[in-house]
Symmetry: C2
Subunit: 244 residues, 2 copies
């Protein structure tokens, strides 16, 4: 039931994979040129030299085509960020680097990225970043922030340190959301926002690391946990622990 797409058995040339890739490439090219809404499934199928139904055989819906793009985008972001991190030692510098390269990588796709997040807010969409379907990308993303923190010199209390990668990921999603709506020249506004927020975050993290702040910090972290729990049981009809 689960693995709708493609099997592994008996693939000399991997015919299925080839077709799948062909459709995906064609779709992404057309999305880039004409935008998402303006590109019809029929047009994709036709340009790929494939029947309409066949496109649906490999991609359950039009949205799943975006998800593939999403994954690809993310891969290149990781690729760009890791080397750039070598130079930076402070938390602030490292955060700046990651966030800037993130936007750099996405830049070419700005015009049609809007659609990406249009449906992303829909809990039923495969693009919902909190949903099951986005798990691989999400995990990788959070790991990147792990690395950001690991290489930094800042001393951060354990409780906060544990949640910080997740929190920074959420923060980065907010920035991307802003970027999508940002139509200023060269996305200056987004870069400026990154500068300001990173500086603020840096200060906040240090402030929160102050022993004086321990009670408030604890309380805030409890809240974060709660939110995360809730996000994880999005599709359940009932929260855990109460059989109706």
């Amino acid at each position: 039931m689960r693995k709708t797409q493609v099997s592994q058995k008996s693939n000399k040339t991997g015919k299925g994979e080839q077709t799948r890739a062909l459709i995906l490439e064609t779709a992404l090219e057309m999305f880039r040129e004409r935008g998402y809404d303006e590109t019809t499934m029929r047009a994709i199928a036709q340009k790929a030299g494939v029947s309409l139904g066949n496109a649906y055989y490999y991609f359950r819906s039009k949205e799943y085509l975006i998800q593939a793009f999403y994954q690809r985008l993310h891969d290149s972001q990781i690729e760009a960020a890791l080397p750039a991190l070598e130079h930076d030692k402070t938390l602030k510098a490292r955060l700046l680097t990651v966030m800037r390269t993130k936007i750099d990588t996405m830049k070419p796709y700005h015009q049609f990225a809007g659609v990406l997040f249009k449906t992303a807010a829909n809990p039923k969409s495969p693009l919902n970043p909190f949903g099951d379907e986005s798990d691989p990308v999400r995990t990788q993303s959070i790991q990147l922030f792990e690395k950001v923190l690991d290489g930094a010199t800042a001393r951060i209390p354990k409780d906060l340190r544990a949640e910080l990668p997740y929190l920074l990921w959420v923060y980065s999603m907010g920035i991307v959301l802003f970027w999508i709506h940002d139509s200023s020249r060269s996305h200056r506004r987004t870069y400026r926002l990154i500068d300001h927020t990173v500086e603020l975050l840096d200060k906040l993290i240090h402030l929160a690391s102050n022993p004086f702040m321990r009670p408030l910090r604890k309380q805030a972290l409890r809240l974060v946990d709660e939110l995360r729990d809730a996000a994880e049981s999005l599709d359940d009809d009932e929260g855990p622990g109460d059989a109706a």
Copy 2:
């Protein structure tokens, strides 16, 4: 160009208004019973005893039907919150009251509220709470938080006080977003989240009001301003001040 719907001149019986209301009532009833996606424009038109095209004469698109619902929901929320505020004097209590009544009011519509915010994230949608089309509702909402603050005893520095209504509105949007995804029994999770976040907010506001925190507060408020500016020029092709 702007006022697509209905004119005032020469309306003895207000025929147009009547039809408009009829369609809206029918639509909302069907949304409540069957959900948004499951209710087709054809079905609405048929049940209202009106042609399909006529429905589109009064509502530019299906989404505009939701916007009407949105406005109505908001009205009753204000109605419920204001009297309830009489008793409360502390900031914390007042915030709690407003947030709880907000959820109380929305409760009956939980099942189909998901659609409301599915498109709300789309900057092109009339439902986008930051967009022009939502201006009346937004303004009213922010004013409600004005009242919350006005009646509270807490001493808050002017700079923060000025931004707080807007910030609390954004906060309330976050809570609603959570509520939509919350499928726990009686929305317990949302109420719990409100309790926790209000307590945290209360502490944060007092912390931020400490003279010691002034520089950080100033910086954070500058950021808020920046974000708000950006939100206001959503539809522009260029940010203000740079002619391309």
